[in-house]
């Protein structure tokens, strides 16, 4: 058959993204802030209650188990998970924006909103700082990236780092949201209008305002990326590597950062899928976004195995005492056979790498709406398991062994207590709650980015076929 555009183009997979008029975009997206009021309120209340339960559990744990750092692995795993997923998500939009990709415009807002999960990270890190051993333990200085630094360097600087990351993330989110607050100011009523008026800070869309806006997004984006890598470096080396004797693993901070990109991508795909369905944004979140994101997700699954294997082969081949201890503690979970953490590792590997890899290798899966969400969910579960594997085992090492050359005895795997489970659920709820709340104040898809998307790309007829013409301004 001769390909007849008007006949074959009915299938969504082959339709270009609709070109929507400017006013329609504003109307549709502003509507999302009031959509599903009651349900969202109910869900928020549930999340709020669970968050409070989590915080109470955290306080109880802090009071009862303050002296025993081996009990804090699950909290550390939770913080790492929040930092990985919530901290990595804003990054998803930054890199393509800096590369001037057009497809990324509909997802910039939702990924930037994830910087709000930083609130949960900030809260959950506090007790960890209390239980993290200082640099000088029993009168002897332990190995750390701080060498001869002041005694509480990790405690102070890691927290400042996380704080800096969150502030930069919020700055990025807010800067890019100013034009939309102005839309809210102009097109809503009541408290939303008031909030819009205050937060839009007199935005009128003048040429100079747009110029500064673009510059600020580029600047905060770059800063965010650099701080993110740095915070992962600090957190992974102080809260995992530093407390295990003999663990000297230069790639581990990078491994932690790479999974952060992967987790961030997965979180963004999952939330995109959800808001597309719930807010009926089919016109704005097109199959192209899922396609592009799932390609990146596929690449990060490969990076995960690459970074893991790069460390693994060195330890496996080296066969020194410290090398063997690393494999026994962090991969096998036991000196003989496969321990409980060994199984956690195997499942983490299946969820992070094997299953999503085999799933995303198919173009028809990547180029679909429901395909990527499955991979994304698997990866999110897998990353949690991976964090449990790393942090629970690392924290299970008793402090009295901290000065050993390497770990001679592999400690017993600690199972999560009721308090730990409450804290983990609560921590994730604290992360999700602000996202839900902010969706009432500002659209989850950026109005001005969407308008620009439609300005810069349009379907074109090209001789007998058609394509999308994407303008690339400097």
């Amino acid at each position: 058959m001769i390909k007849n555009p008007t006949v074959e183009m009915t299938d969504e997979k082959h339709l270009p993204q609709a070109n929507v008029p400017f006013d329609q975009i504003a109307k549709d997206l502003v509507r999302t802030t009031t959509h599903g009021g009651k349900t969202i309120r109910r869900v928020s209340i549930i999340l709020g209650v669970l968050s409070i339960v989590g915080i109470v559990a955290l306080i109880v744990k802090l009071i009862t188990q303050r002296d025993d750092s081996t009990q804090w692995g699950y909290v550390a795993a939770l913080v790492s998970f929040l930092l990985t997923v919530g901290g990595g998500a804003p990054m998803v939009a930054i890199a393509p924006v800096l590369a001037k990709a057009n497809w990324v415009r509909p997802i910039t807002r939702i990924s930037a909103i994830f910087s709000l999960t930083g609130i949960a990270t900030l809260i959950m890190t506090i007790p960890l700082l209390v239980v993290l051993p200082p640099l000088v333990v029993d009168g002897t200085r332990r190995r750390s990236i701080w060498f001869e630094g002041p005694n509480f360097s990790p405690h102070v600087w890691d927290y400042i780092g996380i704080l800096g990351l969150i502030i930069t993330g919020l700055a990025l989110f807010y800067t890019a949201a100013i034009p939309d607050f102005a839309v809210m100011r102009d097109h809503t009523t009541g408290w939303r209008k008031r909030v819009g008026r205050i937060l839009s800070r007199g935005w009128i869309g003048s040429n100079s305002q747009w110029r500064t806006l673009r510059m600020r997004i580029g600047m905060f984006g770059t800063f965010y990326f650099l701080i993110l890598i740095f915070v992962h470096f600090l957190f992974s080396s102080d809260f995992a590597m530093g407390i295990v004797p003999g663990w000297r693993d230069a790639i581990f901070p990078m491994y932690h950062s790479i999974t952060s990109l992967q987790g961030g991508l997965a979180a963004v795909i999952a939330s995109l899928w959800f808001i597309r369905r719930y807010f009926k944004l089919e016109k704005y979140i097109h199959i192209d976004q899922f396609w592009s994101l799932s390609r990146l997700l596929f690449a990060t699954t490969l990076l995960w195995i690459y970074f893991f294997y790069s460390a693994f082969i060195v330890f496996w081949y080296g066969r020194g005492g410290a090398d063997k201890a690393w494999i026994d503690l962090l991969v096998r979970g036991s000196k003989e056979g496969i321990g409980p953490m060994g199984w956690v590792f195997i499942f983490a590997g299946i969820f992070i790498f094997i299953a999503p890899w085999w799933w995303l290798i198919w173009n028809s899966v990547r180029r679909s709406i429901n395909g990527p969400i499955i991979a994304a969910s698997l990866i999110l579960i897998g990353i949690m398991l991976d964090r449990v594997r790393i942090f629970v085992t690392a924290w299970s090492v008793p402090t009295e062994h901290i000065h050993d050359k390497y770990l001679m005895i592999i400690p017993q795997t600690s199972l999560p207590s009721g308090l730990d489970i409450m804290i983990i659920i609560g921590g994730i709820c604290i992360g999700l709650l602000p996202i839900l709340v902010i969706s009432r104040v500002i659209p989850v898809v950026s109005i001005w980015e969407m308008q620009q998307f439609n300005l810069l790309s349009k379907p074109v007829k090209y001789m007998k076929t058609h394509g999308v013409l994407v303008a690339k301004p400097d």
Binding site: M1, I2, K3, P5, F312, I313, W316, Y317, R319, Y462, M463, K464, T465, G467
Partner: protein, 169 residues
């Protein structure tokens, strides 16, 4: 009657696309006419028959073969000459993985290259009617006829659409 090919040369892409349309309308067999260009155009730009291909099967097939061979090679040679080195097991899966990986990829690439050449229908020993100016930016519309009966029609269509020259094989 031997098969005969006609080649119409066009200076611009649009009239060439019109010629393709006219052939279709005049009821010439699909796949008997084709467009030759010196540069890739967006798929379907000439309203041409969009070729189907099975290229994606080739790397999968190659990878499976390479992987199987690699297992036999790595495991087989180690078992055939079981010498323990560095305290590692004879069947060291993590070392074997590296060779297996490379051989899988190599075999996948080889199969893909074969696939590209095969699916391009190359090597083409009898290229048929052609003009050197196609690689200088001219557009060629070529039609292959089973016999002489519609030769005149075809030539008319090419000329009417704006071909400045018509060549015969």
């Amino acid at each position: 009657m031997p098969k005969q090919s006609l080649l119409g040369l066009f200076e611009k892409a649009d009239p060439a696309a019109d010629a393709m349309d006219s052939f279709n309308e005049a009821g010439f067999k699909l796949g008997s006419f084709d467009v030759l260009t010196g540069t890739p155009y967006p798929e379907g730009a000439f309203g041409e028959h969009v070729p189907q291909h099975r290229l994606f099967r080739f790397p999968a097939f190659g990878a499976i073969i390479g992987f199987t061979l690699a297992i036999f090679l790595t495991a087989g040679t180690q078992i055939a000459y079981p010498l323990v080195t560095g305290g590692k097991p004879i069947l060291s899966i993590f070392a074997m993985l590296i060779i297996m990986y490379e051989m899988t990829m190599l075999s996948g690439v080889l199969a893909t290259v074969v696939g590209i050449i095969f699916e391009s229908r190359l090597p083409n020993l009898d290229p048929g009617v052609y003009d050197k100016r196609i690689t200088e930016g001219m557009i060629g519309v070529v039609i292959t006829l089973d016999d002489d009966s519609r030769k005149k029609d075809a030539e008319d269509i090419l000329k009417k659409s704006g071909a400045f020259e018509v060549k015969y094989s």
